[in-house]
């Protein structure tokens, strides 16, 4: 009997007349229990809720930018380098545009590029990793070589070279970031696929006559969704940072409005030298805040899907709830359920 069944919670008597032990739910540590439960758990997690709230706010700003921005972000509406005032809430840029409007419109490109790149690198990485791990042999040799070459080439210099040679623009930046970013998820998911490939449920599917891609996408991929999701949020953080970095270096399209170009113009117009902190601090803060929010969601997913972290958190919660009863004793705490408390006359 496998260990899974040692923690049996109940005995079920089937109509055939067999009494069969029913494995306790807690014994199973798969990635998804019920399709709905996953989302409920995510929303119930404090980190996820907080991170999600920040992201929702940024997304709303991006969507409703025209309604929220007080000025046209490209128009020169005031004198350059004005500090924040009632007229310009976040001051003006070095060439006299409204900083707040630029920041609001910049959310669109920065967030959009980040999400597009994050999703695209994850999808490409997952497909490459799945194919390499599933087919093995020659296919794996070729795809692994490609992946390893992409991993060895240092990222930022490659980005700079590619961006410098291609015509500047939003989609160029996105393409460059995707090319430089797919190798890492591919590598991680390949090794996962290699181990899942050996499971009997894959062999069973093969015997049933399932096709290769169907097995990869419907049998193997759902079993590593937690890694895929966590990897995707990591990729989005990387993409937002890298996109801003490229634009700050002047390798993006300087006439487009994004957090990266705001920083680029702040540098160009000597915002730091003249002490115009409002030209670079807000954009930097926004990048940091979005990255922080994605990281929170990432941690939450890790916590929910990783049983070790989950049990740790549940223990902490339980301890907090029962602190009064436990006192300050340093002994190993033993928690009793509510019923037992009553029975014990607590």
């Amino acid at each position: 009997m496998s260990a899974t069944n040692q923690t049996t919670a109940a005995v079920e008597v089937s109509p055939v007349g067999q009494a069969t032990p029913v494995p306790a739910e807690a014994a199973f540590t798969g990635p998804r229990r019920r399709s709905g439960a996953w989302l409920t758990q995510l929303l119930g997690n404090r980190k996820a809720a907080f991170g999600g709230l920040i992201l929702l706010a940024f997304a709303a700003v991006a969507i409703f930018a025209p309604a929220l921005a007080p000025y046209d972000p490209t128009e020169f509406v005031g004198r350059p380098h004005r500090p924040p005032s009632s007229e310009f809430r976040l001051g003006t840029t070095g060439s006299g545009q409204d900083m707040l409007s630029q920041l609001i419109y910049g959310t669109r490109i920065s967030l959009g590029a980040g999400v597009i790149v994050g999703v695209a690198t994850t999808v490409i990485g997952a497909l490459v990793g799945l194919a390499a791990g599933y087919f093995r042999g020659r296919v794996d040799d070729f795809l692994s070589l490609l992946t390893n070459v992409m991993l060895i080439i240092p990222g930022l210099p490659l980005l700079v070279v590619l961006a410098a040679f291609l015509p500047a623009g939003f989609w160029t930046t996105v393409m460059v970031l995707i090319v430089a970013g797919w190798a890492w998820p591919a590598r991680v998911l390949r090794s996962q696929t290699l181990s899942l490939r050996e499971k009997d449920f894959v062999s069973s599917a093969l015997v049933s006559g399932e096709g290769s891609w169907r097995i990869m996408l419907r049998e193997i991929l759902p079993n590593m969704m937690s890694i895929v999701a966590a990897g995707m949020f990591g990729a989005i953080i990387y993409a937002i940072g890298a996109q801003a970095a490229l634009e700050f270096l002047g390798l993006g399209n300087p006439s487009a409005i994004s957090w990266g170009t705001i920083l680029y113009w702040a540098g160009n117009n000597a915002g730091l030298l003249v002490g115009a902190w409002w030209t670079f601090v807000p954009a930097g803060l926004c990048i940091a805040l979005v990255a922080f929010a994605f990281a929170l969601v990432n941690y939450a997913i890790d916590e929910i899907t990783n049983p070790r972290l989950r049990s740790q958190r549940e223990t902490n919660l339980a301890l907090r709830r029962h602190r009064r009863q436990l006192g300050v004793s340093r002994a190993t705490p033993v928690l009793r359920s509510a019923g037992q408390h009553r029975a014990a006359g607590d």
């Binding site: 009997m1 496998s2 899974t4 069944n5 079920e12 089937s14 109509p15 055939v16 067999q18 009494a19 069969t20 032990p21 029913v22 494995p23 739910e25 014994a27 199973f28 798969g30 990635p31 998804r32 229990r33 019920r34 499971k199 009997d200 449920f201 062999s203 069973s204 599917a205 093969l206 015997v207 049933s208 006559g209 399932e210 419907r218 049998e219 759902p222 079993n223």
Partner: protein, 344 residues
């Protein structure tokens, strides 16, 4: 035996038994599988399966017994076409399937030959409900079309394997089922394609003793009602006798003896079979058992020496045993052995 290396005589070719006049559904000839191991500088091979030949008569249960590492599961996986053999032939319904479809197995073969795995905790995908596991083969092999027909067929299958109420079981996820229930789902999935041959790789060894008999009776019922031929792989000679019409004994990648199950247990010929039988606990014998004659462990399968693999443990070992593997000798109707003790 006049020819030195090949074994041409599978039991059904003996010609004496009239019941077996119909050709066997599956004929396995000289099946060999070697796995390369080691790195770039040392190349060794694990001889998982060596020169194994046997046949699977229509509508019978053929049991294969042997201890862990004797190549039983490798044989089943080769027959399920989960990996290609190093050499040998799999003749299914008179067609050499390895030659005719050398790459992937055809959908027709998949539709006829199904496999049930040893570990019911690993053979069902944790992310899919029972319904999904049963619907897929129905759809792939076009055994049912339309939502209602698929649904009814899924319920039929669950009824056949005795998982009622069917509605409840169809909606359950694997982690909500016990080992025996999962193994029944695995059987239902294999049955979905209406197979002719089922390869059961230790289907009860991971189950509680109390629910084993239920699964064994399920196999017996499927054989009788649906006429499915079974290859029943086990390390438990008692269950082989219970369910197997014939029993073949494997040792270290070789098949050493084969006979109808009762005959094999009453008149074991090969020293290894005798050892295997002496290891079965007998409730009437008390604690003192008859002295075992053979000792030692199963030999390493990495680059094994020539000769009989049992030579190192055999109480009757002769010089010739270490030189060359003996050929097949018939010691009775339908009873063959590969041992020099029984040569002419």
């Amino acid at each position: 035996m006049s020819e030195p290396t090949t074994i041409e005589a599978a039991p059904s070719d003996a010609g004496k038994d009239t019941i077996e006049a119909a050709a066997p559904v599956m004929d396995i000839r000289n099946l060999t599988k070697r796995f390369p191991i080691g790195g770039m500088f040392s190349s060794h091979e694990v001889h998982a399966l060596q020169d194994v030949s046997f046949s699977l008569p229509r509508g019978e249960v053929v049991a294969v017994v042997g201890e862990s590492g004797s190549g039983k599961s490798t044989a089943a996986r080769l027959l399920a076409r989960l990996m290609p053999p190093t050499s040998g032939e799999i003749v299914y319904n008179g067609r050499d399937v390895l030659k005719e479809e050398s790459g992937r197995a055809s959908l027709a073969y998949r539709g006829d030959v199904q496999m049930v795995f040893q570990d019911p905790f690993g053979s069902l995908n944790p992310v899919h409900p029972v319904r999904y596991h049963l619907e897929r083969p129905l759809k792939i092999h076009k055994k049912a079309s339309g939502r209602r027909q698929v649904r009814e067929r899924v319920h039929d299958l669950l009824n056949i394997v005795g998982l009622q109420p069917v509605e409840d079981f169809a909606a359950k996820f694997p982690y909500q089922l016990s080992g025996g229930q999962r193994q029944r789902v695995a059987f239902a999935r294999a049955l979905a394609v209406e197979p002719k041959v089922m390869l059961a790789d230790e289907p009860v060894s991971m189950l509680d003793v109390s629910i084993r008999i239920g699964v064994l009776n399920l196999i017996e019922r499927l054989r009788a009602d649906e006429g499915i031929s079974f290859l029943y792989i086990t390390h438990d000679i008692a269950s082989a006798r219970y369910i197997g019409d014939k029993t073949n004994v494997m040792y270290a990648g070789r098949m050493v003896e084969g006979a109808p199950s009762g005959e094999l247990i009453d008149n074991p010929a090969h020293p290894y079979t005798k050892l295997l039988l002496s290891a079965v606990p007998n409730p009437h014998a008390g604690l003192r058992t008859q002295e075992t004659q053979a000792r030692g462990e199963i030999p390493s399968l990495v680059d094994p020496p020539p000769g009989c693999p049992f030579a190192a443990r055999c109480p009757h070992v002769m010089e010739v045993c270490r030189q060359r593997m003996p050929d097949t000798t018939w010691v009775g109707t339908d009873h063959w052995v590969r041992c020099y003790l029984y040569g002419e």
